[in-house]
């Protein structure tokens, strides 16, 4: 690991100022489970590492009926996966958190780190896309603004964030009923692996929502498949047809984990299983 300057600012203002000062040469350190691996392997060598864990108010999970569920940037995935509110109302998100890495990794890794890395296979991105979440972002001039999760991912490892921006948390709207349906991860082995394909297939607000990871340059919502399902009852023929539309709606690539064709096959299987679960 190359030498760098380590900063642990106690306010968003100070952190943002450091980010602007060092520009491209700065990296935010949160859980560190991606950044430190990249630094260790020589893929990333920031001049300045800005640890945001000293900033107050970023490690809370709060809920109220008006705004919904807000998860601070420094909340770990381990804290999320066992949080009673998530388990009851937003279970799909707790399941996605639990699927990431190991206990040791989840005790450090955060959902905000997971989505800001913007990997196409980010496990926690699919429930957030399915639930129409908002990313809360601090910038020194304008304070905190909200960005729809649908605008957040731009390309492989690229988000719409600008220099000096700091994600402070993620907000998921309140739905009157509990989110129904599950997170599914298809990987080469059961534990501590990256997703070959991952899927959140849920029903909430009277609507079926489907989001997939590792099937396009960013995690995606399957709007066409959802539109097809609108107003239909989930019988075996409808589910079969929806799975076919889903396969046509994604654009996976071949990489070390799987071929394009295999991923397309798995998309059909996961969408079908997800819908069957909801139809039960």
């Amino acid at each position: 690991m190359k030498d760098f300057k380590y900063f642990k600012p106690s306010s968003l203002e100070e952190a943002s100022r450091l980010l602007l000062q060092y520009g491209e040469a700065a990296s935010i350190l949160n859980g560190g489970t991606d950044l430190i691996v990249r630094m260790h392997e020589g893929l990333s060598h920031p001049e300045a590492v800005i640890d945001i864990k000293g900033i107050g108010g970023l490690n809370e999970i709060t809920f109220d009926k008006e705004t919904g569920l807000t998860i601070g940037a420094c909340v770990t995935m381990k804290e999320m996966e066992k949080h009673p509110m998530l388990l009851e109302k937003y279970r799909v998100l707790a399941e996605a958190c639990h699927s990431v890495g190991s206990c040791q990794v989840r005790n450090r890794a955060t959902m905000v780190g997971n989505i800001t890395n913007a990997s196409p296979l980010a496990d926690t991105a699919t429930p957030l896309l399915a639930l129409d979440a908002f990313v809360q972002v601090y910038a020194s001039e304008e304070g905190i603004r909200e960005i729809s999760i649908h605008d957040f991912f731009v390309y492989v490892r690229k988000t719409c964030l600008k220099a000096g921006d700091i994600v402070t948390g993620v907000r998921i709207p309140n739905y009157d009923e509990n989110v129904f349906g599950h997170y599914q991860k298809h990987a080469r082995r059961d534990a501590v692996d990256l997703s070959t394909v991952c899927a959140s297939v849920v029903k909430v607000g009277g609507k079926i929502r489907i989001a997939l990871g590792s099937v396009a340059p960013t995690p995606v919502r399957l709007w066409q498949t959802e539109a097809f399902l609108e107003g239909k009852s989930l019988n075996p023929e409808v589910i079969e047809a929806a799975a076919k539309i889903a396969v046509g709606e994604v654009n996976p690539i071949t990489d070390i984990r799987a071929t394009k064709e295999y991923r397309q096959e798995i998309v059909g299987v996961l969408v079908k299983r997800g819908l069957e679960e909801i139809a039960k």
């Binding site: 690991m1 190359k2 030498d3 760098f4 300057k5 380590y6 642990k8 350190l29 560190g32 489970t33 430190i36 691996v37 630094m39 260790h40 392997e41 590492v49 640890d51 864990k53 381990k78 890495g101 190991s102 206990c103 040791q104 990794v105 005790n107 450090r108 059961d190 534990a191 501590v192």
Partner: protein, 157 residues
């Protein structure tokens, strides 16, 4: 540049000046001579470097030494007393839950963390808790048995 940090490790208070590009694992092994935690993969996949930070298991290879400021750390060396092994260490011996021993400190720390949070875990909970610890010798069966032995003992207390 060096950074002054203060933390406790195995209940001992330590003040140290560390360079930023040093991992917690390197500090523990090289500066503090506690060589129980090992580097296997350096990427958070094998768990051989598992230590407890504020009671929670983490990969010491994925944490910077400077981040230890203000933390309470426990390594495998902190489990036994002067004269007596921790019951989980004893269970590993009694169940022959190790062969080469490289994964053992990490495995024991993951098991210990689980038992501290939940004294009577089920087999499924044990398997989940050690899923981030690789062992190439034992096939895991005896490791699970050793942790379950402590779990069952706790249930009968």
């Amino acid at each position: 540049m060096k950074y002054e940090i203060n933390f406790t490790i195995n209940k001992e208070m330590i003040s140290l000046a560390v360079i930023p590009n040093k991992t917690l694992l390197e500090m523990i092994r090289e500066d503090l001579d506690l060589t129980g935690a090992k580097e296997g993969c350096g990427a958070g996949e094998c768990g051989a470097c598992t230590v407890l930070v504020d009671g929670k298991p983490v990969n010491a290879c994925l944490m910077l030494a400077v981040e230890a400021d203000g933390k309470e750390i426990i390594t495998v060396e902190g489990l036994a007393t002067e004269t007596e092994l921790d019951e989980l260490q004893q269970a590993f011996i009694d169940h022959a839950a190790l062969q080469c021993g490289y994964c053992t400190p990490g495995m024991i720390m993951s098991g210990k963390a689980l038992l501290m949070e939940n004294p009577t875990p089920t087999v499924e909970e044990v398997v989940d808790a050690i899923s981030g610890n690789l062992c190439r010798c034992t096939g895991y069966k005896k490791i699970v048995e050793a942790i379950m032995h402590v779990s069952e003992n706790n249930a009968n207390k």
